[in-house]
Point group: C2
Chain length 222, copies 2
């Protein structure tokens, strides 16, 4: 388990990662505005290892998730923040409250690469499998965070074998990524999907369900 | 279709809706920071009208989604923004590119109400059905926007009948909501879920699939 220490919180007045904008407009005659954030589209991939009949997902410490739990315990923490303040978090919660299970995923920020190529790069970087682009099957696309970002997320399915694993994965430490690769056996996957004691994204739950409906019936019988 | 006019974009330096924070911390010894936003937890509800065997979803213009499409067409728009600038959008895209299909949903901002009570309020406000709290079935919960907000979203299922419809719904115009209630016939629902020409959230796709697996088999045969 990760050691998370020396936590401190401050308001963020300028960020390379969060780019807030305000759109003013008139809707059916009524003047309105909406604050939103520009972000990148993204890809995510349901990875199924056929050698060992398991899903390959990632697990990582998510500061935003962690701070949701901190606020639940200490609602006053965010209320007294002005632009100058800087609060040390004494007696922090255990890191595990901020750890989530997610599909392998990445942002679409390389205009010269296709979505499939970006997805394959992420599978290699995060999970250590070298997958040919032709192995990817698109499941569908949808809008995420429609109130705040509205970006398009495209979901792929990839089958891998143990022979395709060429590295440990784990993300790019030079970009601060610290990702644990986790295997969920197929036979436990629906129980895992609906077990709320394992915090996870809807992408995990949905894609496991999609697999049950679309891929599992065609698997060779044991 | 909504008329969307007089669009203008500006950087947003202060917002009641977007509250950016920076968390600094040490993870396994390495000093890091993460910029994130505080937001509320939320509830969403898959509504099935048993009188007419259809799902009840909402449809609305989403500025964040719209601006994703604007950027796709005019990538320079966001690049030249400094704190002072204010850009009118000449020759805007049609409003329809920003309209998404979503589950009825709402934020959890009333500490004296249960999640179920908040969900029932949203069903009434947005879709016009008066549903007893005991009609709600929790499907599951998960984390949304793990990179940016990490908030917890709880998904419910509610069956309604035509007799429960007491108003038109449509949201709270005084809060700027302009929501269209849309019925998706059960027999068309899986085709709709995977038809990417109708922009939608993953919540719609997942919950329709959940219904097929968990509720449809128990429906009385026609």
């Amino acid at each position: 388990m990760d050691a998370i220490e020396e936590l401190a919180l401050q308001p963020c007045t300028s960020s390379l990662y969060l780019r807030p904008f305000r759109l003013t407009y008139r809707q059916n005659g009524a003047k309105k505005f909406w604050d939103f954030m520009r972000t990148h589209d993204s890809v995510s991939i349901l990875i199924f290892n056929t050698s060992r009949q398991c899903f390959v997902v990632v697990k990582q410490f998510r500061p935003a998730v962690y701070m949701c739990e901190v606020e639940r315990q200490h609602p006053q923490l965010f209320q007294n923040q002005d632009k100058e303040s800087f609060s040390r978090l004494e007696d922090p919660l255990p890191a595990v409250v901020g750890v989530t299970y997610e599909l392998c995923a990445g942002i679409v920020d390389k205009p010269h690469l296709s979505l499939e190529e970006i997805a394959c790069e992420e599978i290699l970087e995060e999970c250590g499998y070298r997958v040919p682009v032709t192995n990817l099957k698109k499941i569908t696309s949808y809008r995420s965070g429609v109130g705040v970002t509205g970006s398009r997320q495209t979901l792929f399915y990839a089958e891998v074998t143990d022979q395709m694993r060429t590295s440990e994965g784990g993300g790019q430490p030079e970009e601060g990524e610290l990702i644990e690769v986790v295997e969920i056996p197929l036979e436990d996957s629906m129980k895992f999907a609906y077990d709320e004691t394992f915090p996870k994204t809807m992408g995990v739950i949905f894609s496991f369900t999609w697999f049950q409906n679309n891929i599992a019936p065609k698997l060779p019988k044991k």
